[in-house]
């Protein structure tokens, strides 16, 4: 689903927990004692907008050659959009199941960091956590973090999670059925939906020179290694652009003692 909202979420995660109530940015816009209806409205808005992009996933997955059952199983059980798109793309490109799943897994690791913050914010009882975990994604985190108190955060998390889960799976099914009815999805340009989704997710992340350098190196590695390495592997090698850029930046900042990259080495 739309990791479009990844940015606000990751940014909030790195901020001080109290920042949300301090009135900084959209997070603080709701102010204290936010009415329940407003929380539900926010959550439904995000859920509906993003759930619809499940249609693009259904079409892409069916176009990649997955069966209806396989496509729906991904949305029901994986339920994190970028990983799902990456997996079907890698399989369609001839990748073996292990490299394809590895790429999807690495894209999903950011959810662990969302869970970390949500765990503190929502203070979920331990028995509830295994069930809540499936809804720990970009959008639910963004909505929960934008709420002024724990009660609103729990409500926002639950309504966004439920709305998204229902719509994402419904639209996946419709997209996959639509693609099967259409037949040759490439003739309709639907093979461009996957890269367009990735680009839409990537664009808001390219805020600083560090992100742009990482993206540039990853593109060069991903395309340059494509003809020489087995399918699926070039993407995993391209992921090394992230630690490489961090390492190079840390090296350059090494003269400044406050940079923790220096102590990390």
């Amino acid at each position: 689903m739309a990791e479009k909202t990844a940015h606000p979420a990751t940014r909030d995660i790195r901020e001080d927990p109290s920042a949300g109530t301090a009135g900084s940015g959209p997070a603080g816009a709701g102010a204290a004692s936010k009415p329940e209806a407003a929380v539900v409205r926010d959550a439904l808005g995000v859920g509906v907008a993003v759930g619809l992009s499940g249609f693009a996933f259904g079409v892409t997955s069916a176009g990649a050659g997955l069966t209806l059952l396989q496509t729906c199983a991904l949305s029901l059980l994986v339920f994190t959009g970028a990983s799902q798109f990456a997996l079907v793309g890698a399989l369609a490109g001839g990748g073996n199941p292990f490299t394809a799943a590895a790429g999807a897994f690495f894209l999903g690791t950011r959810n662990a960091f969302y869970g970390l913050r949500l765990s503190q914010l929502l203070a979920l009882p331990r028995p509830v956590k295994p069930f809540a975990a499936q809804w720990v994604i970009d959008e639910t985190t963004a909505v929960a973090l934008a709420q002024p108190d724990r009660r609103s955060a729990r409500l926002g998390f639950t309504v966004t999670g439920l709305t998204l889960y229902v719509l994402w799976n419904l639209t996946t099914l419709l997209g996959a059925l639509g693609a099967e009815a259409i037949g040759d999805t490439a003739a309709w340009g639907l093979d461009a939906a996957g890269p367009a989704v990735f680009l839409a997710l990537l664009a808001p992340m390219l805020r600083t020179a560090t992100e742009r350098a990482t993206a540039g190196i990853a593109v060069v590695l991903g395309l340059g290694l494509l003809p020489v390495l087995p399918a699926g592997v070039p993407v995993l090698v391209a992921a090394l652009a992230a630690p490489a850029v961090l390492w190079a930046r840390g090296r350059r900042a090494g003269k400044r003692p406050e940079q923790e990259e220096e102590t990390a080495r």
């Binding site: 990844a6 199983a73 199941p97 292990f98 461009a192 990853a218 391209a238």
Partner: protein, 108 residues
Amino acid sequence: MNALNTTQVWIAIGLTVAGCYLVKLAGLLVPAQTLERPLVQRLAALLPVALLAALTAQQTFATGTSLTVDARAAGVAAAALALVLRAPFLVVVGAAVAVTAGVRALGG
């Protein structure tokens, strides 16, 4: 489109389901300080950038294991333009699909 090996696809789905669920659950269960080191956080934020950039480029230019410039490139360029114009998510994807289909219909 192409014939995928059903067993292999199910293996990939099973691994992805398990992996993606476990990282979500891990975030809720591990002690806070484990993931709160700044370097770990920064790497986690940068990893999707590298993966998404490589995936965008490959799915735009790859045909099997060779690189080609075809109608998809025009479609993704249209998506990029839509993003610059701050179009909503679905408009961005719709632009890519429409332009790719249009270029193919014109024989591109």
